[in-house]
Amino acid sequence: MKQSITLGKVTKFMGLGFLNTFKDLFTGKLEKEDYINFLRKSVVPLASILLFIGLWHLGAKSLYNTEAEFKIEKALKDQGPEAAEAMRACIASGDTSCQPNTLPSPSQVWTSYKSLLKDHRIIKADKLAFAEKTAALNEKRVAAGKDAITYTGRPSFVDQIFRSLRTVFAGFLLALLIAVPLGIFIGLSPTLKSSFNWFIQIFKPVSPVVWYLLVFMIVKTLLIDSNEDSSFTISFISVGLCSMWATLVNTAMGVSSVDKDYINVAKVLKLGSFQKIFKVVLPSSLPLIFTGLKITLSVAWMVLIAIELLAQSPGLGLFVWEEFQNGANDSNAKIIVAMFVIGIIGFLLDRLMLTIQNAVSFDKTDAI
């Protein structure tokens, strides 16, 4: 029983409290209230998901019909009744050459999802085979001081996800390394605060696209001599600069608004400035700093897609863009798959930060 109590606490702590209702269903005795709770926390969300898929299905179907009618009309107008009949038959047969291009239905998206996974497995096997084949040769090349041959095939969808995550974490780390120390300095000194205020106010609302262009201008020149691919560098720096503002503002605010009682303690104990900052000011602003970091991470993930697309840096953003350009029959469905994957990963990242944030938070009334 103790086990399940702690499990319950953990899930609640992570903001996944709704999972507990499932657990109760299997372990605990159920009261009337529990049933209502179960209904509210599990059945209702489930029903809303089904409703969403249903509406989506109907909407997609009606869009499909509109598009199909339009195609037939067009054939009729341009090439006459025979062509129109041929078009109608072609669409009905499900032939890929003449399918109306519109919002894909849920089942199409599901099919695309499975085909993307299959594609991933194939590419993975391919990579393994390649590695085996080149292992001996590579050893020789390395021994001879040459570069090893690497796999240069197309990345799979799953590879793209990990590349995006890598970019977002690099950007997040950059934001953290810039914004937290800077925020501390700004928060500690009213002079710095007023002199940086205009800077923050002006740069905070700048759009990701502009950040990208700015970083592009600078990095391109800085890396002019190296022939390395700079798209990753450009995109993670842009992501970092774009998303760091929430952390900067929150850190500065946390540091400058430390509870007066704690400051009085520091004064009465006559703490040195180092002790004061690390033992009093920082711990007391940690909750706000983490709130900022949480926003930063979600902003980073949100702008990442746009920036990858602009920078042509590998990842989900580029995947979406390529699929759009590609215009293949299942491209639209793949874009929707990417959309859900992006959303779900964003949600998980948010939960992760929330968990950390809860862990470092304290309640001031706790100490009074």
């Binding site: 009085n264 009465v268 033992k279 309640d363 100490a367």
Partner: protein
Amino acid sequence: MAYLELNNIHKTYGQGDNATEVLSNINLSIEEGEFVAIVGFTGSGKTTLVNLINGLIEPTKGEVLFKGQPVQGTSHERGVIFQNYSLLPWLTVAQNVFMAVKEAFPKKSKKELNEIVEQYVEMVSLTPAINKRPKELSGGMRQRVAVARALAMKPEMIIMDEPLGALDALTRGNLQDEILNIWGKDRRTALLITNDVDEGIYMADRIIPLRPGPNATLGPEFKIDIERPRDKTEMNDNANFKETRNAIIEYLMDIGDERKSQAKQEFVLPELSPKDFVNQFK
């Protein structure tokens, strides 16, 4: 020359039209080894007064002299127990005390410092909770930590701002005895701020009411000539105690009446039962 002297202190908060003089013309002198209590209503300016003495704020007019020198900023010679304990919630009991001890004795080794911490935590009977954080402690235990933290720095004078104000009656009584016990060992100079007349009489050598602010000023002092160690139950029958208690309460009540008759505006008062009213003065 007294150990601590306040000469014609005025303290004004705010500027221009918003300025309110919280304390007016405060004169006080405390001798070395004395235990003085100041009683007053909430909001009368008691915290302002202690912060002037411990050096957290400066007077608008007048001077605070500690051992003949003007007070400038805080000092380890004056230990403070805050009204709301002010423990750092992210540190354990030991760490809270250690932080203070380390500042007070920068030359001591870590081992010596830890010994001091343990000694003072033991003194306030918190050894079993030494590695707990404040949120795991009861109000009384937190206040004990605050006492240990202040005393572990071995200040010459100990200033307590309503240290027991937030505690229930039983815990309060116990802690009063504990503080008196500790104080009795080396009789450092002590200043106790309280809103409880009985507490003041039980603990102090001298008790001074603070007339409510704005323009709060100190009233006449009352000497408590009851031998230590004092016994609470016995004291209730002591003629001197009763007399003093009644005199102080009467004085504080008179101020209340005076203020009421001075008020020109009419106020709608909240509904107070007589019990609440009497409790205010307990």
